[in-house]
Amino acid sequence: MSSRRSRSRQSGSSRITEEQISDLVSKLQDLLPEARLQSNARVPSARVLQETCNYIRSLHREVDDLSERLSELLATSDMSSAQEAIIRSLLM
């Protein structure tokens, strides 16, 4: 452990350690919706990356659906009602 520490300190920030990566992977894992089931065990990073890709894709799809819905709604409403809608959603 001490050798790794000295090595990383010598080469500055170019040497990226495993613990940094695993730390980021665990943070990513916490963001995923299935983290509640898997937060106990250490999931292999490949699985976490796969779940991350799937989750990002599903989020993109949701945003596309929502933007379609919003475009339809915008076509049939005017600006004042949109402002009213936003203010109402913010107050809720």
Partner: protein
């Protein structure tokens, strides 16, 4: 203060301090930014920006008139993409330029506009953060990923394609960008859902009371 527990916490503290000093991949800033996207304030900021963007979209497309209903129907598919792009742009602006994907969204958009105005010179490419092209791994440096096996490198490349503008980042930076991007996307989904709900509620109530939305907005 027991000796063993004291020494363990001292070691832990030293490790945490080390990580904080280094923070090459921005590990601790990732946690801060992730929680940032969950606050109400960011939600409000994003909602107001979204409203502005949507207003521009409405002004850009044909003004809604009951006579040109077929024209509106034909313009609906490109309009959803305009809405999506406006929402993404608002999200990128809300990031305040701290993250790579937000800069990439804004840079891509500006580049696409310029390319559409002039003749198409070249493809709208990745943002100007160019590292040396690596054949196999997604990392910029050979030793920068800490011994990634090939399947992990493949997934990292897929992830780099999904997050805009992060195709050639080293692995830890890619993870940090991805976590921030996911939190931002979640906020975007929440804000757009709330907006759609509120709009549908308002429009349904207004259509039931009077003729649907024919009141012309003041110029």
């Amino acid at each position: 203060m027991a000796s063993t527990s004291g020494s363990t916490t001292a070691v832990e503290e030293r490790e945490i301090e080390r990580k904080r000093k280094r923070s090459a991949a921005g590990g601790e800033s990732a946690a801060a930014s992730v929680s940032k996207w969950r606050t109400r304030r960011e939600h409000e900021i994003y909602s107001s920006k979204l409203l502005e963007a949507l207003r521009l979209v409405r002004a850009g497309s044909s003004p809604s008139s009951p006579s040109s209903f077929s024209v509106n129907a034909a313009a609906a598919p490109p309009r959803s993409r305009a809405v999506r792009e406006a929402a993404d742009r608002a999200l990128a602006v809300a990031a305040r330029g701290r993250t790579c994907w937000s800069r990439a969204i804004l840079a891509n958009r500006r580049r696409r506009l310029q390319a559409a105005r002039r003749a198409r010179l070249r493809n709208p490419a990745t943002p100007p953060s160019r590292h040396a092209p690596v054949p196999a791994a997604g990392g910029a440096s050979a030793q920068g990923d800490g011994g990634k096996t090939p399947p992990l490198a493949r997934k990292a490349k897929v992830l780099g394609r999904l997050v805009p503008g992060c195709r050639k980042l080293p692995f830890p930076a890619l993870l940090a960008e991805a976590s921030d991007y996911i939190a931002a996307l979640e906020m975007q989904v929440r804000a757009m859902t709330a907006l759609a709900e509120a709009l549908s509620a308002v429009s349904s109530s207004s259509s039931s009371s009077a003729a649907g939305g024919s009141s012309s907005p003041p110029a």
